[in-house]
Amino acid sequence: MISVKNLHKSFGHHEILKGISNHVEEQEVVVVIGPSGSGKSTFLRCLNGLESVTSGEIEIAGMNLTDPKTDIHKLRQHVGMVFQQFNLFKHLTILENITIGPRKVKKQSTAEANEIARELLAKVGLPGKEQRYPDELSGGQQQRVAIARALAMKPDVMLFDEPTSALDPEMVGEVLQVMKNLAIEGMTMVVVTHEMGFAREVGHRVLFMDEGYIVEEGKPSDLFSNPQMERTKNFLAKVL
């Protein structure tokens, strides 16, 4: 589903990703952990072309992202993204937030898009919020809408960049639950998070990133209880 080969990314002279290679299977849930500034967000943003790559190759959802001939907008329809700050469209209602992608990008009819949006709202536990505006919802509710917005495009992969880091503690659970349900349904997911409980319970594989490298990877149970690298041990000692 995702295949990354020797990915490098620099901002100016500052190299942030120093050769990342990895392969994500269909229906796999990969959790990315690592200290602040290690390049986790940059890695994720490269996967849907929000950041241009400096060198290397990325294949995702059957398309070659690094091929200049690839239509990046077409590719992004197949790659959903959920942001730390939700980024719901402030001037649109919840229903419009979810339907605007399908309507404008996929040219779905409003009726069909509304129907799908209602189903998705029910699925993320927010029926009846259609006509509200984002700032009328709590953070946890907004993030669930953001997940519904991404799902409305029927993506093949979902990318999550610290989806619960901006939330009050009591709202973290409701968002993680929605993500867990998605994983159970077989969605392919790459999740950057500090929620080690989620990584352990839902993740199939954990990548530990530090200073632009994937330092270590493995099954959550193995990596958490028996880290091999010194840097992984230090990091886990701090967060576990």
């Binding site: 992004r76 790659v79 700050q85 980024n87 469209f89 402030k90 001037h91 404008k104 700032d135 495009m153």
Partner: protein, 222 residues
């Protein structure tokens, strides 16, 4: 008083022209400003250069000089009077010059409005597959527009004032008609007072309208 009543039709005719030029210039300045703002924010360097050259040229020279140059200067080297007609050219050229001048300021208003929209909004739009154009049209501009309304209304008020500079290049409007009436009646004080009062009524209402809009938008933050 008789001076006012006797010449009111002429003066009001001038006011009507002033309002017409204002409306045309306000519409054009927004269109021009929007295009130039999008060019200034474009990924293509040549478009950015063209737009910023335009903005700087018009903001760094006086409007009156621009009007003299284009309305009276150009015909000296180009047969524009033949192209557009002896009577039409000054009117078209003056209206366009005014619009371009105001458009330069509107460019900066719109650009600032667009840049004021949180970057996450654009990224979210791109991430559902929208093109840059769709992102601009459906997500960024609607949000930018709300914060742009007060400065745009102020610029519109400025544009109405600036139409008075069309008189020196021979375009008939309120000031021009006022001068004609004064030449015939010598009622300098009365007629200029009347002209000023008419400008005041129009521009004051526009500013009040701006204050109203500002308040409305503050109540309804969306």
């Amino acid at each position: 008083m008789n001076v006012i009543w006797g010449n009111l039709p002429v003066i009001l005719g001038g006011l009507a022209l002033t309002i017409q030029y204002s409306i045309v210039a306000i519409i054009l300045m927004v269109v021009i400003g929007l295009i130039a703002a999008l060019m200034r924010l474009s990924k293509l360097a040549p478009l950015r250069w063209v737009a910023s050259t335009y903005v700087e040229m018009f903001r760094s020279t006086p409007l009156l000089v621009q009007l003299f140059f284009i309305v009276l200067g150009l015909p000296a080297i180009l047969p524009v009077n033949q192209w557009f007609g002896q009577l039409m050219y000054p009117i078209l050229a003056a209206a366009l010059t005014l619009s371009l001048n105001e458009g330069a300021y509107v460019t900066e208003i719109i650009r600032a409005g667009i840049l004021g929209v949180d970057r996450g909004q654009k990224e979210a739009a791109l991430s559902v597959g929208m093109t840059d154009l769709q992102t601009m049209r459906y997500i960024v501009l609607p949000q930018a527009f709300k914060r742009m309304i007060p400065p745009l209304v102020n610029q519109a008020a400025q544009t109405i004032k600036d139409t008075s500079l069309l008189a020196p290049v021979g375009v008939a409007e309120l000031v021009y008609k006022g001068e004609i009436v004064i030449a015939a009646t010598f009622a300098s004080f009365t007629i200029w007072a009347l002209v000023a009062a008419l400008y005041f009524i129009i521009i004051f209402s526009v500013s009040k309208c701006s204050a109203y809009l500002e308040r409305r938008l503050q109540v309804d933050k969306r």
